[in-house]
Assembly symmetry: C2
Homo-oligomer: 240 residues x 2
């Protein structure tokens, strides 16, 4: 099994993804929020690049069934129903709804993965489920959303814990690229506890706008046993 | 002290480097080779982006005092005097010479650092000397050359060992960016021994073209107690 981790979107050769399963990670907070929403009964999540695209898509999906979600600079977009805090996406709020979502880094990462044959959504909260879902793949590409175009350690650490799980439970031989090796080594040293999350770049930015409460869900490993999958630009539960 | 590591050139905001000391790292092999050349008596190293620029600069420096060095795809450029293997740069060959050098990733990294007030050259071979030289800085930027525009674990590991030395010997408080934290964690797990170097992306590429002998010098921590510094596009020994 070939395992390539990419720490930024710029490092991905999108045209070469055809045969690969791509796992997209944005721990703080887009992929954590998507996992939470689908675990709580949302029927689908539709990532869009801009807030304007999101509003247009919500209208076309039927505004009464859709919720507009997302942030800019961490804060809920004006006029949207929800921001990007996983705790907002309770069953009471999202069950049966279609969520149109626009976030700064996360939804852009999905657009980098569009050429892949299978695109899965990963956070710490569904790490084990994703590891199991990719175990039989020949080529796994893990795409960290990063911050802007820069390395983000929370995404890299999640990638590393995923690589560890895949390698430790696998019976294949594994060929890791440099970033996969580095991520795995990182996972030997670090865990996504509160002290870690509040002291990293994206975590400090969240705490500054009063969203440190998000660390609780974002750092909870294996909170859900589900694998969201993107198909035709909609993210739904695999097998659903 | 603010310590920012960047794993690829694309992540550097070149225009913001003005007040910083920038440390450039390309373990396999440009910065290892530059350290070796200056330790063995070369009077200066002149990085150039293209082989054509290199030939032109060598002519203007006086061809009898200059050596043309560098590689493309790891192999010595046709018509050049030397390739990019540190072991080629012995005192017998380089003492008193000006070296015009063009390599795939290393010399490009120097061009990303041109706006900085101080640019130092680092490899495992002069790690301690560089750590000591930056210990009083307010802002340290560590620029990993990477492979093409991608993460390279040898450069990241060297950056991590540098960060460890700086933090462990320093009396300052330190503010590390995400990549500096990750590099430091990597350095807790890994060392640049032969087993590591021959199993990583750049190392496998070198071994395939018969240059595995380079690992010996490239992985030797603190082989030299010198700090090469770039000024006006020439690299010489700091204080020389």
């Amino acid at each position: 099994m070939k395992v390539d981790v990419h720490f930024t979107r710029a490092e991905v050769d999108a045209a070469a993804l055809g045969e690969s399963t791509v796992v997209v990670i944005d721990v703080l907070r887009a992929t954590t929020t998507i996992v939470e929403a689908l675990a709580n009964g949302a029927v689908g999540v539709y990532p869009t690049s801009s807030a304007a695209d999101a509003a247009q898509l919500a209208a076309s999906l039927g505004r009464e069934d859709a919720l507009l979600c997302g942030e800019r600079k961490g804060v809920k977009v004006d006029g949207f129903d929800l921001g990007n805090s996983p705790a907002e996406f309770t069953a009471e709020v999202v069950d049966g709804k279609k969520l149109v979502m626009s976030t700064t880094n996360g939804t852009r990462a999905f657009s980098a993965a569009l050429e892949a044959c299978r695109v899965l959504v990963c956070a710490f909260t569904n790490l084990g489920a994703v590891a199991a879902a990719v175990s039989a793949d020949e080529t796994l590409v893990v795409l960290c959303a990063g911050q802007g175009d820069r390395f983000s350690i929370d995404d890299a650490l999640c990638a590393g814990h995923l690589v560890r799980r895949v390698v430790e439970t696998g019976t294949n031989t594994f060929e890791l690229n440099d970033a996969a090796r580095a991520a795995r080594a990182l996972a030997e040293e670090l865990n996504p506890d509160r002290a870690f999350l509040e002291d990293i770049s994206a975590g400090r930015a969240l705490a500054e706008i009063g969203l440190a409460g998000d660390f609780e869900i974002c750092g909870e490993v294996d909170r859900h046993d589900i694998v969201p999958m993107m198909h035709n630009q909609a993210i739904t539960l695999a097998g659903a």
